[in-house]
Amino acid sequence: MEWIYLLSGLFLGWSLGANDAANIFGTAVGSRMVTFRTAALVSTVFVILGAVISGGGTTETLGQLGAVNALAGSFTVALMAGLSVAIMTNMKLPVSTSQAVVGAILGWNFFTGSPTDYGKLLEIVGTWFFSPILAGGFAIGLYLLAKRWLGNARIHMLQMDAWTRLGLIVVGAFGAYSLGANNIANVMGMFVFAAPFDSFSVYGFFEFSGTQQLFLLGSVSIGVGIFTYSYKVMTTVGNDIFRLTPILALIVVLAKSLVLFIFASQGLERILLSLGLPTLPLVPVSSSQAIIGAIIGVALVKSRSNINFAVVGRIATGWVITPIIAAAMCYVALFFVQNVFEQQVVDREQQQQQTSLITPAAEILQFNNPDQLLQAGSLADMLPAGE
C-alpha cells in the first residue's frame, strides 16, 4: 500500500527529471556538443548523489512550512502538485515544480487546519524573487569574466571546443548534483514526516535512514525521467526556446547551479556560520526561474534589445498563478480523498505535537537581537516534554 502512495511522488520525480535535466544539458545536447547518453548518465548519477548526500536541508525547510504526516495526505499533495504542473504546462504557461509543491502543502495546511509557519513561507517566497536575481548576478559576473579571459587567452577555436565540451559535462554534473540536493524536497519532502521506511544498517558500515531511502527512490525516479523523456525536452530547449551558444550555455548553467547549490548546501551554511556571516535559507528553488534569471542577466550585458519583456512578464505571471492553483487543487482533492475515499490525510496526534513546535509570528518579532533570545532560554527549554 505504501508503494501506491509513493507513486505520486515518483511521478513528480519523473516529471522533474524530464523537464529540469533539460535546463542543465539542453543546449549541450541540442547543439550536439554532448551526446544524450553522456548527458543522461552524468545527470542521473549526480542527481542521485546530490539528493542522498545533500537533500536534507531543503526538505527540513519544506517540513517546517507544513509537515504532511499521513501517507494519503502526502500522496494527494504530490499528485496535485504534479497535476497542476501538467495542467499549466498544457496551457503553455511556464511553471515551477517548487512553487506547485509549496502551494499544495499550503492547501494541505488550510484543509487540515495545520498552522502555517508564515516566517518560513516568507523565507521561501523571498527566495523565489531572490534566486532569479542572484542567478542573473552570477551570470553577469561569469559572462564578464569569460569575455575578459577569452579575449586574452588566444586559445585555438578547436581547443576551445574541446574545453567547452569538458566544461559542459563538469558544470552539468555540478548542476545535476545541485538539482538533486535542492529539488529532492519537492519530490519526496512531503513523504518524510509520514515516514514509510525504517532505517537499516548496511553491513554495519553505515546507517541508511528512512529519509535517505526515500531520497534514493525519488532521485531514481528523476533518473528515469531523464532517460525516458528528457531527450525531447532537451532538443526543444537546445533548438527552439532559447538559442544559446555552448559557451553561453556553460555560463548560464553554472550560474543556475550555483544558485541551487547555495540554497541547498548545509556545508556552506556551516562555513558561513563559523565565519560569523549571515546564512542563506535552505529552500527548494525553481531551477527554471534560476535559469531564466541567468539568461536575462547575460542578455542584459550582451544585448539589451534582445530581451522580450512581454515574454518575461508572461513567465512571471505563471510563477504567481502556480502556487495558488496548486493550493486550490490540493484543498479540493484532500476533501475527496478524506470524505469519499475515507483515507486519513492527517495524523492529528502528531500534528498537535508539531504545532507546539512552531513559534507564532508574534513571538518571533519580540526577539530583536541574540541577547534577548539567550535571556528567553535555550530552544530545548521551550520544547514540550518528550520531544
Binding site: G151, R154, M157, L158, A162, L166
Partner: protein, 215 residues
Amino acid sequence: MIQLFGSHKQIETEIDEFLDQIIGGGLLFKKGIKFYLDGRFEEFEQRLAELIELEKRADHLRRDIETKLYTKTLIPEFRGDVLGLLEHSDAVLNQISDTLLEFSVEKPETLDDLRDLKHELAKNAIKASEFMVKSIRCYFRDLSAVRDNIKQVHFSREETNRLSEKYKREIFSRKELRLSHKMHLRYFARSIENIADDAEDLCDRLAIAAIKRYI
C-alpha cells in the same frame, strides 16, 4: 577525454597545414611569374608542377578536415563558417594555380617595359592572399587581430586593382599592338587581379564569421 583533445589537436594541425599550402602556393606563383618574365621557362615549368602538386595536397587536406568536422560533430556552432572559409580559401589557391597554368598553356607575350609593373601586380595579388591566410589564422586563435589583417587585405587588393588598371591602360594605349593581342594581355592582368578579389571576398565573409564568434 585524451582522445577528444587529441582529435581536436589533429584537425587543428591539419587546418594549419592547409593554410601553409596557400602560403606556399603564393610563393611558388611569385617565383614562377618572375621566371616567366625573365624568360627562364624551364624553371617556370618546374615551379608550376610544384604548385599543381601542392594544390592537390591542399584539396585532399580540405576534404579530410571537412569530413572530420562533420563526422566528429566538432565546433557545431561555427562549422558552417569554417567550412565556407576553407572552401573559399581553396578557391583562392585554385585561382593562383590556374593563372600560372594559363601562362604555361597560352604563353602571353612579355612586354619588356611593362615587366616590372606585371611583377609588381603579381606580388600585390599574392600579398592579399597572404594577409587573407593571416586573417584566417587569427579567426581561429586571436579574434582581436582579424580586423587589422582584413584591412591589409583590402589595401593590397586596392593596390592590385590600381596596378592592373595602370597595366591595362598602358596596353590599350599602344598603337603597335593588335586588339586581340591587347585583349590577351588584359585577360592575364585580370586573372592575376582575380586572386586579390577572391581574397577580399573571403575576408568579407570572415568579418561576419568573426562577429559571430564573439561571446
